[in-house]
Symmetry: C2
């Protein structure tokens, strides 16, 4: 017997038939003797419609009213699933965020969970009742409904799993697990049985958006064992767990890529203290998220600085740099949005040398030029021309021995 | 300066343009120096869609979950209207039933309001803020969301008006007031400037469904002055008020009709004590609402009993009578659903004789046969063949001097 949280995303509850299918899955867990609590998203499309209405009425709408409107999507699904569970013979009860309560701060539209009062839910689960909790929402410190921001239902599920001290939090989604890379690019991509929180975070941050980053961070902090699995098959998914739980840790867990990158080079910047602050300070103040940064060794008292950022932020960043030209004193700014970031991720590389050099050699063999390199403890990322994305991902997938037999 | 509650029904908030129009109406009241609170229904069609989903998942769905699902319709409108009001330059804030709170009993799906904590809303209205309250919903004594049953938003508005001690409760709807009869039948029907609560109740109960009966009863009990007016024109509507407020009370306020009636005659029932109880007891137990009842004087130790009921209840009533045949001991049951009820309503008839005889004479002149007669203090109703409905209504409208000049 286990105690679990089951979380179902928008496509898993997109219509009444799928809600019935979700009810059957939950019923199967209960019949197997497990205690289950369920977290649900809004039916696919509903949240976007509600957001659209708010924006059409006022582009600068009040976030408190936005939250009251948008939180209804999950409320509807929770009530409908409770009805479907009862129809399937399972005792069930929906709990709104304000009823549990799931308390948050008052940062409407992007609230953070402060606490979940789980005792009553635990008591009911022990008595055989399934609590159905709408994800994405909570009760703000101002007494009003809050939402956690897009994708917040994953975070709701992990926070609830932590509060209920469950054995596992199953995230049901439209993919059946985490792969060594994108199966659409590499036919030989393999589903991973297990992956560490750290690897999942690095993969998520470079474009493998199966789980919301915040939810993985929270799961790591609270030591909640996650399982990513499909709503549409019975195949086991991928467990996201602590490093200790993975006996044979492979060197590299997976290859991720992101085409959502742009590169800016600032040429002939004066090589003096404080120049990086002058350059990146205004970008940070404007919430432009800078990723990789490379500074060459100075020559002639000047240096070249290259950094990457999200494509959507490129116009804003160029404008800020133009405005700061006098203060920074650079010669020229060039930009390139026709780039991709390729990352090799694995906690195994902590204790193994040669991961980066394998990457560079593999790309060189394919005549792919590396524009920028950045490394973390468990990741090596390179920026390359966007047209080489598939070629690079396939070559690296083979080079690290990830191809399925 | 006045303090008012403004209530907008589903067609008045059917889409974003209409919500904007509602915001302009509310803004005009605020600009005129009035304090306003707003009660809203769900956008037209939304409630039926939500109810349909619950029924499709389970015909015998849990009323607590039904309430959690269905209450979202009003929640969305309240948030959207608050945004639209802010965009129109009006300080506004939505308040869910559980936030005010509007406390109710725990009769989910048909809850009754127990109390409304209005002090905070009054304080905010005095400071120029417009509270937007979703109708139809409350916080049950079990701590869960309740709904008041169909049309409950009118009742929400009147209860809020009472709690806020307003000067007037304006019910905005898709008609522009209460008419002397249905203008689709009688071209010369006139809009009434004023009508009493009692007359409104009698008109509502016989098919002029502009206001929910419960809301009028509550308004009468709490002495809340109602105004029924159109969301789509600026014409003044009809005031529903205490009898004292109507200086020149006309004899008859209006002519109502209902085609939603059926008639059952039970022939040769033994004329002995307790037989009416044996006949109507099982009907009441099955929630079959019986309206007019006529019992003829007995002959040969038996009597004939005729009663009317809603058309939808006819099959159930016939079944119950068939099951009770032995206990009741009647000879035969006949039914006729091809009937209409015509009612003449007016508080003036309390002090004037001759209203009923005018009705009978008028119908006789048109050769319309009266099947059943029933009277109350301020109403005379007759059952006639359905095909005579329009003829009867037009003739009576003229006979009581109600035709517009």
């Amino acid at each position: 017997m286990a105690r679990i949280v089951m979380k179902f995303g928008g496509t898993s509850v997109a219509d009444l038939d799928r809600i019935r299918a979700v009810a059957r899955r939950v019923a199967a867990e209960v019949e197997a003797g497990n205690e289950a609590a369920v977290v649900v998203s809004a039916m696919a499309g509903v949240t976007n419609e509600l957001i659209g209405w708010c924006q059409q009425l006022s582009p600068l709408h009040d976030a408190r009213e936005y939250d009251a409107v948008v939180a209804t999507g999950e409320q509807v699904t929770a009530g409908l699933l409770a009805i479907a569970l009862q129809a399937a013979g399972v005792d069930a009860r929906s709990w709104q965020g304000w009823q549990v309560p799931i308390t948050t701060d008052a940062a409407h539209g992007a609230a953070r969970i402060r606490g979940i009062a789980g005792a009553e839910l635990v008591r009911r689960m022990a008595a055989g009742q399934v609590p159905v909790v709408p994800g994405f929402q909570g009760l703000g410190s101002d007494g009003r409904i809050t939402t956690l921001g897009r994708g917040g239902s994953d975070t709701s599920a992990v926070a609830l799993a932590s509060a209920l001290r469950v054995d596992r939090c199953d995230i049901y989604t439209d993919v059946d697990g985490i792969y060594t890379t994108d199966p659409r690019i590499v036919a030989k991509a393999r589903k991973l049985a297990r992956i560490t929180y750290e690897e999942m975070l690095e993969l998520a941050s470079v474009g493998a958006k199966v789980l919301q980053t915040r939810s993985v961070e929270l799961a790591m902090k609270e030591r909640v064992r996650l399982q990513v699995r499909s709503s549409f098959t019975d195949a086991p998914g991928t467990l996201v767990v602590d490093e200790d739980e993975i006996v044979e840790q492979p060197l590299v867990a997976g290859i991720a890529y992101s085409r959502d990158e742009a590169k800016i080079t600032v040429r002939r910047v004066p090589d003096r203290p404080g120049i990086a602050a002058a350059l990146f300070g205004p970008l940070a103040a404007a919430s432009v998220n800078v990723d990789m940064i490379v500074q060459n060794v100075a020559a002639d008292g000047t240096t070249d600085l290259t950094f990457t950022l999200g494509k959507a932020d490129l116009p804003r960043a160029r404008q800020l740099l133009a405005e700061g030209r006098e203060a920074i004193g650079y010669a020229e700014v060039t930009a390139d949005s026709d780039v991709a970031k390729i990352s090799v991720v694995g906690v195994g590389m902590r204790s193994h040398a040669g991961v980066a050099s394998t990457m560079f050699r593999t790309l060189a063999e394919k005549a792919i030029n590396i524009q920028v390199i950045s490394t973390s403890e468990i990741k090596v990322s390179v920026l390359i021309g966007a047209e080489y994305t598939e070629l690079a991902v396939r070559a690296l997938h083979s080079a690290y021995g990830l191809d399925a037999a």
